[in-house]
Symmetry: C2
Subunit: 182 residues, 2 copies
DNA sequence: AGCGCTCTCGCGGTTTTCGGACATGACCAT
DNA sequence: ATGGTCATGTCCGAAAACCGCGAGAGCGCT
């Protein structure tokens, strides 16, 4: 009944692949992902806003977000911390995502530590799940969460990109971090 | 996200109980039910428009619909046929409800006949279900559907009311119609 | 011992799947 | 007549599967 949410979609190249960016009328980031995972991103949007609950309109640099992302990749790391974001998700997921934004750039946290921080020390796997369901990767830095033993464990965009992002953010040990525990 | 749909709610007395009436800004009927089943009506609204997808604002005689209903109960039977109606529902349900409005006042149809009319002769039970899910009873005359053997079978507001409505509409045999097959 | 690896199992939120209930009625076998 | 079977759409609740984890046990090597 209520006309669908009007969202704007744009794309931009980065050193590790093309990004798809989705913003709303107010210039808040609603979704972002790598072009090669665009299908998954659209699926997530459908899940959050319903089948016909939104429409994607191509537009250049909506809300200036495309520029912001380029700036981040160019080396201005702090800029994403203040980027406006709006998401759906369950209460639990939103709690996890909020906690993600509190992880300082250049550092990492383990899944269990993150679970502890939101007051649900036992919900470790659930935190992993919520991490994977994050619609606004990079900006809400799910890549800063690693295994308890320092292994990179997983990343929706591919482990290689996770490693690159951490290195880009100057994480001291990121060069030696292996995909799996050695 | 999108602010909730603003709906107006009113009540009116009838010979067979109090009605709750819900209209939209454009004066179209969105829902109607007997006060003693108001909980079910609200449930249906939640189902169609989502948990926080609408709000009910008390208002006297919204869109003049309350007057229209009184007029119907006073004896002007034809007036409901032209009453504006807007509903959610699945494609199948909407098809069934549309077919209901084509049943002339003062006549009845069996569930199977109705199923045949919408081109789904086998979906007899499904038609019954869709009938029960009708959010705008009386106006979309689900009470004009009876069992193949003439029994009244069922009605969301109670069999007695179904019988009364049919009698009110001058259905010839309604006086002798029994709740269940004899 | 001490290290490091593998395997197993429990953890918990979300999604998916499945079965049942229902405002019927045609058909077939007792 | 009576009674069981089955088709059909949709919602709901229960149960199970799914995982971007991690602690602990068992085992083979220095």
């Amino acid at each position: 009944m209520a006309e669908p949410l009007r969202l704007f979609i744009d794309r931009t190249e980065t050193p590790i692949g093309e990004l798809v960016i989705v913003a709303d009328r107010e210039g808040r980031l609603r979704a972002i992902d790598w072009t090669d995972y665009e299908a998954r991103m659209r699926q997530l949007l459908r899940l959050h806003y319903g089948e016909g609950g939104f429409e994607l309109v191509p537009e250049r640099n909506p809300g200036g977000l495309t520029t912001t992302m380029s700036t981040y990749f160019a080396g201005d790391l702090g800029i994403i911390a203040s980027m406006p974001v709006e998401t759906g998700g369950t209460p639990f997921q939103r709690t996890v995502w909020a906690a993600l934004r509190d992880i300082p750039c250049g550092t990492t946290v383990s899944y269990s530590e993150l679970a502890r921080r939101i007051g649900r020390p036992a919900a470790v796997r659930a935190v992993g799940l919520a991490n994977g369901a994050n619609p606004v990767g990079i900006v809400v830095p799910c890549h800063r969460v690693v295994g308890a033993n320092g292994s990179l464990t997983g990343y929706g965009g591919g482990i290689e990109r996770k490693r690159w992002l951490l290195a880009h953010e100057g994480h001291a040990a990121s060069q030696s971090l292996l995909p799996f525990a050695r």
